[in-house]
Amino acid sequence: MKTLELRNLKKTYFDPYAGSHVTAVHDVSLEVQQGDFVSVVGPSGCGKTTILNMVAGFIPHSGGEILLNGKAINGPGPERGVVFQSFALFPWKTVLDNVGFGPKMRGVPKAERDRIAHEYLALAGLSHAASRYPNELSGGMQQRVGVVRALANHPEVLLMDEPFASVDAQTRMTLQEELTRIWQERRPTVIFITHDVAEAVFLANRVVVLSKGRVLDQIEVALPRPRVWDDLIEDETFKRLSAQVLHMVRSA
């Protein structure tokens, strides 16, 4: 069953200084099945963030359609959760209240949303940090909160834009492994944007390669799960797929 569908999506920005239009996304069509995990890679400036922002409803699209369960999207909404590269945690709320924010907006009573938040914090190994403020956490912990905050709201689609780009390499690997584990447990539909080819292949069932605002190719990743770096780093299939995607991105 397909959840999300992009049809001939197009985005043109107006540059007020140059007084001209820039087309960031020319013509992108994409289907994502329910419970699927899709990575989107491409060179810098190819329109990845623009696509994600349109799907999230943060910016309007200039042409084509974005359908969620067959219905056109209209602005941001809780059925499309977002994980930001900047984490975007509310600095004045504790970790617990950050995670409970989505349920709070749905009108879930305090005791129940605290229970939900505790459950999801446990999922990310963050139970001990519940009463702390975001600025008291490391970058890796902050982004765990970011992921769990989006998940606790039960979105139909989880949109992630380079969420692990600003944490160190070791932590990033841990976060990637945790994300695959959580995804297997909860099976949300995920669109994961990155320019890190190995990350794209490691996480996804399918890697979409973008180039200059168009889909260049899509590659199925039939690696077994659970995926852990210690195994995959030596794995022939993983190496072959990563090399294949890398060549595509570099020639894009």
């Binding site: 999230a56 943060f58 959760g81 930001f84 900047s86 975007a88 600095p91 989505g102 008291e136 709201n153």
Partner: protein, 268 residues
Amino acid sequence: MNILLRSWSAYTRATARWPGLAALVPFIPVIALWVAVTESGMFPRAFLPGPVEVVKAFFSLTYRGILPDYLQDSLVRLFTGAALGMAIGIPLGILIGTSKWAHRVSWPILLFFQAIGDIAWLPILLIWFGFGLTTMTFVIVYTVLFPVVLNTVLGVESVPRDLARAARSLGASPARVLWEVTLPGALPNIITGLRNGLGYGWRALIAVEMIVGTSGIGFMMFDARRSGSVVEILLGMIILGLLWYIVDAWILAPIERATGQRWGLVTS
């Protein structure tokens, strides 16, 4: 050298224990100088009284109930004006900060009126409202308003765009984004604006009381000039400084720190 070093370390330890001490000790040389000048006989006593006379005046005026009454009048005026200024300034600042349109329309007007300044309004206010509470309140509201509005706008605009987007994707309506994200995000700036506004307002109030007042600290000082009582003038000046120190250092600054620093919005 050794003694200096040791007494300095004793001083830092003492002030760490009693923070109030750190605020008082710097005044010791100032008071000593004051005493030295008055005791030297350079000036007649009526021209420059010493600290002892001022303290005596403080007790006598307090005992007669004049000082408490005037102090209360001044403070009530300041806080009424500040409350009104906030009630107008914060919503206005949020409107200007969130709406490009409101920003474009109101910004030139704001800067224009900010330049006119509080006291510059007095001549026309005296004609319109006469010598009284309305005129005083207008001036204080006016002084408090600009720092509150400008800092609120600054605060609203400094809230990262991703925070509002995150809230929207978690199901918040635009109105709830305002309440849950924009307001708390702008709060440290709003408090800074209030702190500045109260400081300006306090000074404006004293000036206005001198001109239109029939009570208040400013009136007391100006009235003392008429009777040639330098003691009361000095007392008024000292009260102005002390009171502001208490309000700012013990109330406003801690609130500002508590919001900004705890959230990591202000790196301290």
